[in-house]
Structure formats: C-alpha cells, structure tokens
C-alpha cells in the first residue's frame, strides 16, 4: 500500500476549503481507510460551502498557497438545504472575475465530494497537487505581496540630485 516516497524539487502548498458535512467526512473516510494522498493539502473546515467567501481564496493565495481546492456536498445533499447551490453560483462568478484579472484558473479546483467518497477526495487532491506542481509556485501573488506602493518611477533627475545633495 505504501508507495515509495518520491522527492520533488517543488512541493506546492494547497489550501482546501471543505464543508464539514460531506467533504470533511469524505477526507476522514480516506484517512480511516488508510488511503494515501499528498500531504501538500491543508484542510480548513467550514460549516458549508455557502460559508466560503471568495475573499478566503484571495487571502489563501496572498498568504502563500499555490493552489486552492473548494469542496462540498453534491447538489441536493446540502445539510442546510441550499448552501452549495448558492456557492455554485458565487464561485462561477468569482472564477470569471479571477480569470479576467489574470489568475490562472488551473490553480483553483471546485469539487463535490460526499462523505462516502474517500476515493474521490484522494483523486481530486492528487490531481490538483500534481497539476500545481507542474505549474510551479504561484509567483504572481507573492511578487505582488513583496511590492511596495510606488510602482511609478520616482528616480527623476531632480530627486536624484536632491538625494546626492544630502550631506
């Protein structure tokens, strides 16, 4: 069952936002069934996919995630009746917005994983991890985070002269 551990030069960080009723239980099932999946994924538990604000995805990227996974109950199975239906629309819109701003959508995965689908959880996590590994680190957000405000050129001759004049 234990495959030999492969060594990679780049280990992506994947943030997974999951709903407690389905996907969290599904991931739990994968664990109790002793299935192997990449340890790159960090699971954050939410009451429902409807609770996942798009801003969490942004925040994850800004704080160093290379990929984000959002997963919840299949349509119709929501513990709160309609949370995942709302989430579906919200993320369809948010995806379009991210794409328009220039974020590569291959770094974001949405999925429905039920409490019984431990195998699907493993499959989704593995696929996303390998895809993001192939894409390399999420440079864009990290570079942006390093940048300070004045992107405009401030090294005018006058400023340079003033700087040089400082005793």
């Amino acid at each position: 069952m234990h495959t030999e551990k492969q060594h990679h030069t780049f280990e992506p960080k994947i943030a997974a936002f999951v709903c407690t009723w389905c996907t969290y239980a599904g991931a739990d099932l994968a664990g109790t069934s002793r299935m192997q999946y990449p340890s790159n994924v960090r699971v954050v538990k939410f009451p429902c996919t409807g609770r996942i604000d798009p801003v969490f995805i942004l925040r994850a990227f800004q704080k160093g995630a290379d990929g984000v996974l959002i997963s919840g109950c299949h349509p119709g199975d929501c513990h709160y009746m309609a949370g995942n239906f709302h989430a579906r629309r919200r993320f369809a819109a948010f995806r379009a917005l991210l794409d328009f701003v220039g974020v590569d959508l291959n770094r974001i995965q949405f999925s429905w994983v039920s409490a019984a689908e431990g195998g699907k959880w493993v499959e989704v996590v593995t696929e996303l991890t390998e895809r993001v590994r192939g894409m390399g680190p999420m440079k864009e957000f990290r570079e942006l985070d390093m940048e300070e405000h004045w992107s405009a050129q401030v090294n005018t001759p006058e400023l340079q002269a003033a700087y040089n004049a400082i005793p």
Partner: protein
C-alpha cells in the same frame, strides 16, 4: 487623428435648446411638487460656481426650485442620496429625485434591495443625451470627444416607469462603443497579459475609497474591507491589498451594479473600474440570463439559484 475626424469629434451632439427645455421642465415639476407639499425635498442638480459645472443639491423650498438645472455636467448618480449611508443629507418624508436612465437602473436596484420604498419617491426622469466624461473641460459643449464612455453605448436614454419625464430626446449620432471594444480586447489577451494590465492599474490605487463612497450599492454599515479582526483585505495602501480591494469590490457588486460608472468617474487615479463591473454583468448575463436594474428585483443572480445551474467547472 486626422483633421476631419477632429472636426466631427468636436461638433456638439445636441443644441442648447434641448438643455434649456429639460431644465425648464425640471424646474416646473419641482416647483409644483414643493408648492403643493407632496414632497419634502427635490434631489437634483444646481449650477456649480465655475461656469459649466453642476453640483448635486437638495432643494426644499419652491423658490430654490428655479436654481435646478440639467446640463452635460450633471454626472452624479443622485440615487446615492437615497441610501442609508447618506440618510443625514436628505430630509425625512417623500422625496422627488432627478434621475438619468443609468441612475434609474441603480435606483431600481435599491428598490429591489428594499433600501427605498417606491411610494416614498417621486421620480423625475430625464430624456438624457449623455453627460461629460471625467476630467474634461466642462466649458466645452458635449461632443464625441467629451462624452462619457458609458453614454457612448447607452441603452436607457429614455427612463421607463418614472412619474415625470423631463424633455424630449433629440436624435443622436451613433458613437463607437469604446468600452465594449476595450473589454473585448482584454478578454482576448492571455491571463498573464491581463494580470500585468491590472497589476499596473491597481498599483496606482491610493485607496481613497472614492469608488466606495460614490457607489449607490456600497451602503453596508461596516464594510468588510474596513474590518481588521479578522482582516480579510489588507488596508494599507500596497499593491497586494489594492488587488484584494478591487476584486472584493467587483464581487460584491456583481449582479447588482447596473453600470452608472460613477466609480470610474470619481477615481483620481483613472483606474477603469467600470470594466470590472461590465465584465461581471456580462458573465452573469451569459450564465444566468440576468440583467441588473431593468426592474426592481428582490433576488439577484447571486442570491438565488436554480437546481440545474451550470456546474461544468466543478469536478
């Protein structure tokens, strides 16, 4: 640009009599309403101190009704003053409001979101020929060079379902849809190119939040972006936080914004914010066949759902 193009660009789109007629109609209607006491105030425009400019004003007496005007400088979306955020600016009771077609769409959104009651409003619609873009010489007449981008492709020149329409619409020449072309150009770029485009623009942002202050839909008592425990959007002025702010802003307006483009007009750093709003509106139209602001609707596309919504992007 060649000589002939410049000549056609600077030709006035409408003549002065149109503005005089609209102004006259607004004044007469406002005076009538204030005299018979059916409204507590009229929210409209008055002339600014510099020639050719205009200011929003709350007129409460019939005498001041004669100060009301309509000119291409009347750019403000006055429906802003009906929101809770601006409740101290206007008197209580029934209000009359002067709206252009685009403002009416925002007003329809506010009605749908139960921010204002229709029975507390007397809507004075304007048959609008268009208004100035930001940063143009307001001494010039309205022409193809000075007209706002949103007015170039306006579909709501004649506001529908208002209590009173001021003026009659003159015939207007067709103008090229500059904004739609820009949107199409951006959509055709690669994600990396779009990222570079927006990164440059968002880095300019000084987070004055004028876009938030001027937006009729930004009426939350506490903005998510002002909260710091937990902090979701970095509030220091840095490219990282600026990107979050503009994405969150666009997301919160998705399905609500009807494109009055006030955010873009007030932006001191000239960030084309309406492109983001247009893009979201376009996506929601394609996905859920929803268009904001046509009629007051209680549920927007992101607050309702259908069981068979598209989920091709979900594994």
């Amino acid at each position: 640009m060649n000589q002939t193009a410049q000549k056609t660009d600077s030709a006035p789109l409408v003549d002065e009599t149109y503005y005089a007629a609209v102004t006259e109609a607004i004044r007469a209607e406002a005076a009538r309403l204030l005299v018979d006491g059916s409204v507590a105030a009229v929210i409209g425009y008055v002339a600014g101190r510099r020639a050719g400019t205009a200011l929003p004003a709350v007129v409460t007496t019939p005498e001041r009704a004669a100060e009301l005007i309509f000119s291409p400088a009347c750019r403000n979306n006055l429906s802003l003053y009906l929101t809770k955020a601006k409740q101290d600016a206007v008197p209580k009771g029934k209000l009359a409001i002067v709206v252009k077609g685009c403002d009416l769409r925002a007003l329809a959104g506010l009605l749908g979101e139960s921010q204002v009651k229709r029975e507390n409003l007397h809507i004075i619609g304007i048959a609008c020929a268009g208004v100035f873009a930001a940063n143009v010489d307001q001494g010039l007449p309205l022409n193809a060079a000075t007209i706002a981008k949103k007015c170039r492709e306006c579909t709501v020149r004649l506001p529908a379902e208002v209590d009173f329409t001021a003026g009659t619409l003159p015939t207007l020449p067709r103008l090229s849809p500059v904004e739609a072309e820009e949107l199409a150009r951006l959509e055709a770029l690669t994600p990396a190119e779009r990222w570079a485009f927006w990164k440059e623009l968002f880095s300019r942002c000084i987070r004055c939040l004028a876009c938030r202050q001027v937006c009729p839909f930004c009426f939350c008592a506490q903005c998510l972006c002002d909260r710091n425990r937990p902090q979701t959007v970095e509030n220091s002025v840095r490219p990282a936080g600026n990107l979050s702010w503009h994405i969150v802003r666009a997301m919160h307006l998705a399905g609500r914004c009807a494109g009055c483009a006030e955010c873009e007009r007030v932006c001191p750093m000239d960030i084309p914010l309406n492109l983001l709003n247009r893009k979201m509106a376009k996506e929601l139209k394609e996905l859920y066949d929803y268009e904001a602001g046509l009629t007051p609707q209680e549920k927007g596309p992101l607050t309702s759902f259908k069981e068979d919504d598209d989920e091709s992007f979900i594994k």
